[in-house]
């Protein structure tokens, strides 16, 4: 095809136009960079969740996985959740393990800060930073001087004082009543320490106004402040290109990063894009939601790419709504559980990813947590349709012509199992269950419910209670105070997160003790007692933990997936690139 002169000119104009447009929109953030830091090489992390709009983790706008990943090593935390789900004190920030003491109704926790610990601008990290974190998060009630934008006040609302001695390097935090998860305070990507000299304000109202505004991504983090090995400078954020580049914090007192740049590039959740980016070397690490063909394709890239499947804290379970006439009867709930072969459910779902997948037999702890005990009565370990039928007959059900039980008052035993729309894993889970239930005379049906997580104004949401049974996930953690809302008896309309809407005074009493218990051994005892009782009450049936998937270029050394909220970048400062 021969182009005339004029067409060639038009073509050239088009290309030039595109180039000019590139110039307009391109980032003007040259000049930054951290090559002077001594680290070498870079790692490009392909972020598959939405680019953050706000970098302040305490509010809804900053409540994003991408924010948590970027800030995994920016702000100091007193304790760090390890890949093995244990909690370890931060040996760089503190000089000794924090001590908790309970006397009567008060608990004091003492932190000894490293005298060398400073923010990136040279200001020392002191008790003031603990104090401001507390004042920001102690209440969400504006009438009480609280900030209503907060996602959580857990723990901080029980703090009565934060005192600094020893030039602020010894911090004493007082709780009343005692807080079971005291280790979770000033811990985690979502509630670390904040620099008081940057975030504090003269009055509580002004402080709350600052909390409400947060740190919009276009403005970066105020003063580019950091208290960890990495630093995110405003000039290194390209909002349009959805790229953020971390560089080493020159003033970090501990071990400095060995890599010159940690680059976050948003790549969306298309698995082919992620795999091809990895194989072309445009990405060095991905952490997508695992899908079967994605895992297989990445496996083909070995030995240039290493990958690993872990089982995280997020777990799928089946909720029984006790307001349903059938499921109000504990025998029906138990018959449902007896009918199921959960091993087969695992084999057909997460078992496809990894042979390590297991049936989850504890409502509170996950199989790979040290606190885990298998408390499930033996009859739930395999499909047990005969026993299920006996229980149903005890409750007055009779087997109908079509092989489904019916009850004189409650009618036919047909249960609709709701779940989120467009989730193949959950859909398969329910589809495997349906024939198992049928064998025990229970008719199960699948229903993709788009309103399932919506608010109380949508009648079929979990909160409103317009469902019979539902499959969805909770995210566990090494701490205990998030458990009571899920399993405590509902108080009137206040169901909390107990969507099964059933509980017992015995369980409630144990939870009441749990949330004030600060010793770990006792917490584990109580939670496992609660779990035994939950198996007998059967408000929910745990199914399996969901896998996490990490894949990275094999020239990066030191990568260890942390399948908790800490995320895959929890130890990025220790990585080296060959």
């Amino acid at each position: 095809v021969k182009l005339s002169k004029r067409s060639a000119a038009v073509l050239a104009a088009g290309v030039a136009g595109a180039m000019t447009l590139s110039a307009c929109g391109g980032s003007d953030d040259g000049g930054g960079g951290g090559s002077e830091s001594g680290g070498s090489g870079q790692v490009v992390f392909g972020e598959s969740t939405d680019f953050p709009e706000n970098l302040f983790p305490l509010i809804s706008a900053g409540n994003a996985t991408s924010t948590a990943n970027i800030e995994a090593q920016l702000f100091p935390q007193t304790f760090e959740v390890q890949p093995d789900f244990t909690v370890k004190w931060n040996e760089e920030l503190l000089t000794e393990e924090p001590v908790s003491e309970v006397t009567g109704d008060t608990q004091t926790v003492t932190y000894k800060l490293n005298p060398d610990a400073v923010w990136s601008d040279g200001e020392p990290i002191t008790a003031d930073d603990f104090d401001v974190a507390w004042r920001m998060q102690r209440s969400s009630d504006p009438a009480n001087g609280g900030c209503p934008e907060l996602l959580s006040t857990s723990g901080y609302e029980q703090i009565t004082a934060v005192e600094g001695t020893d030039e602020g390097k010894t911090v004493t935090v007082t709780y009343s009543p005692p807080f079971a998860d005291w280790q979770a305070s000033f811990t985690g990507n979502n509630s670390p320490l904040f620099p008081a000299h940057v975030v504090d304000a003269p009055t509580q109202e002004e402080l709350c106004a600052k909390v409400a505004a947060g740190w919009p991504i276009a403005d970066g983090i105020p003063s580019d402040i950091s208290g960890g090995p990495w630093q995110l400078k405003k000039e290194n954020i390209d909002v349009g290109g959805q790229i953020a580049v971390l560089t080493p914090n020159e003033n970090f007192w501990g071990e400095k990063p060995k890599v010159a740049r940690l680059v976050f590039q948003n790549i969306g959740n298309d698995p082919t894009t992620a795999v091809q980016g990895l194989s072309r070397g445009e990405l060095n690490m991905i952490y997508p939601q695992p899908q079967l063909d994605l895992v297989d394709q990445v496996a083909d890239l070995a030995p240039n790419v290493e990958s690993e499947i872990s089982f995280g804290l997020s777990f799928e379970h089946l909720d029984f709504n006790s307001q349903d006439p059938h499921l109000a009867d504990v025998n029906v709930r138990k018959a449902f559980a007896l009918a199921l072969d959960r091993q087969q459910v695992v084999d057909q779902t997460v078992g496809q990813f990894s042979s390590d997948a297991e049936v989850l037999n504890n409502h509170i702890w996950k199989t790979n947590q040290p606190e885990y005990e298998d408390n499930a009565p033996a009859e739930y370990n395999a499909a047990n349709p005969e026993q299920a039928k006996q229980l149903l007959q005890q409750s007055g059900y009779t087997l109908g012509q079509d092989g489904v039980f019916t009850h004189p008052q409650r009618g036919r035993l047909a249960i609709q199992i709701d779940t989120t729309a467009n989730n193949p894993l959950r859909q398969t889970t329910i589809e495997v269950m349906i024939p198992q239930l049928k064998a025990a005379g229970i008719e199960g049906t699948f229903n993709a419910n788009t309103d399932i997580f919506n608010g109380p104004d949508k009648p079929t949401s979990l909160i409103a209670g317009g469902f019979q049974a539902a499959v969805f996930a909770w995210v566990g953690n090494p701490f205990v105070s998030a458990q009571p809302p899920i399993y405590q008896s509902p108080q009137g309309d206040a169901v909390g997160q107990n969507y099964a809407r059933v509980g017992t005074p015995e369980i409630d009493a144990l939870f009441a003790e749990l949330i004030r218990t600060t010793e770990r051994e006792r917490q584990v005892e109580i939670t496992n007692q609660i779990d035994v009782l939950l198996w007998d009450l059967m408000p929910t049936l745990p199914l399996y933990q969901k896998p996490t998937f990490i894949a990275y270029s094999s020239n990066i050394d030191g990568v260890v997936d942390n399948p908790t909220q800490a995320g895959p970048l929890w130890n990025a400062s220790t990585w080296t690139v060959e």
Binding site: G25, G146, E149, G240, I243, G281
Partner: protein, 329 residues
């Protein structure tokens, strides 16, 4: 022509108004921006929900909410996303991203469409016609995401292997962080290397359908009396085809291309996703619908609708230029 343009613009404003109202109604009925917070464990305090509902204006009457949005939009304030970023700021950047991706692609596609269409018509039923027809139907039949994946796998892989270096890129607009430590030619060649594949992908897929329009329009014209007359007057074949034939045969293509460009500005959704360009299409899908964000969806609607209207208007005006018999009034 001036009055024609004014009349068309006024009619378009009405269409925009009605469509924004309909979209607002649909979004307001189905979006629940608070949904993702109810199942955080532990659940945020009640005051969090009260505050957010108040802040997003969810407590207001439906018509009042629409009025707030509309009165803002008229003054260029498209509201904020649910996370507090002004929508207008994001839209502007996103149009540039999409624009960068489609400008070169459209120019290449139009030229290819005309050339291939004319060749197909002039050499109807010859091998070259059959060859291009086959090629074009293959391209039309190819799903975008697959074609893009093939380009990435084979073209990017092949070219990079050939040069023994990273020449073509498959993700984003530039190597992330490159502008921190590189400038000048290195930066520009990197951006060009990122631009090639999305451009090729968009250009080939758009050109395919367009060339069929051009071919049939050209065939129509070639059989007409004035062509025979022109030849009878003694004009060369080449001159009749180009001067008398092509000019007339461009009219149908103008409409199709104008509509196509207008729509592309709304986002070449799949191409953007596959090549990870953060343009208009991604904005609608992931930031708007994915986040239950009504202001994002409406902002997107307004801007992409304006482009559709604008390019339609341009097509109408171009008619008059191409065909002097048409008088717009």
């Amino acid at each position: 022509m001036f009055f024609f343009a004014v009349r068309r613009i006024l009619a378009s404003v009405l269409v925009l108004l009605v469509s924004s109202f309909l979209v607002f109604t649909l979004c307001a009925a189905s979006f629940d921006p608070l949904a993702k917070y109810y199942n955080l464990n532990p659940r945020p305090p009640e005051s969090f929900f009260t505050n957010l509902r108040e802040q997003l204006g969810l407590n207001d009457n439906f018509f009042l909410r629409y009025w707030h949005w509309l009165s803002g939009a008229v003054t260029g304030d498209f509201g904020e996303t649910i996370n507090g970023t002004p929508v207008a700021d994001q839209l502007f950047g996103r149009i540039l991203v999409t624009g960068r991706m489609i400008v070169a692609a459209v120019v290449i596609a139009v030229i290819l469409a005309i050339v291939v269409g004319v060749i197909g018509a002039v050499r109807q039923h010859r091998p070259s016609d059959y060859f291009f027809t086959f090629l074009v139907y293959v391209l039309i039949a190819l799903p975008t995401f697959w074609f893009a994946a093939l380009l990435k796998e084979f073209v990017a892989g092949g070219v990079n292997d050939l040069f023994g270096a990273q020449v073509l890129f498959t993700i984003g607009e530039e190597t992330p962080g490159l502008s921190l430590y590189a400038s000048g030619w290195e930066l520009w060649s990197d951006r060009l290397g990122h631009l090639v594949l999305p451009t090729v992908s968009l250009a080939l897929l758009s050109f395919a359908a367009w060339s069929r329009f051009q071919r049939s329009a050209m065939l129509d014209v070639l059989g007409s009396d004035y062509m025979r007359l022109a030849r009878a007057k003694g004009l060369t074949y080449r001159r009749t085809v180009v001067r008398h034939g092509l000019r007339n045969a461009l009219i149908p293509l103008t409409t199709v291309v104008a509509l196509g460009i207008g729509t592309l500005f709304g986002g070449a959704v799949i191409t953007e996703t596959v090549f990870v360009w953060h343009g208009m299409g991604e904005y609608l899908l992931s930031n708007g619908i994915g986040e239950n964000d009504i202001n994002v969806v409406l902002g997107w609607l307004l801007v992409s609708a304006v482009f559709v209207v604008l390019f339609n208007l341009m097509a109408d005006l171009l008619y008059a230029v191409l065909d002097p018999r048409i008088r717009l009034a």
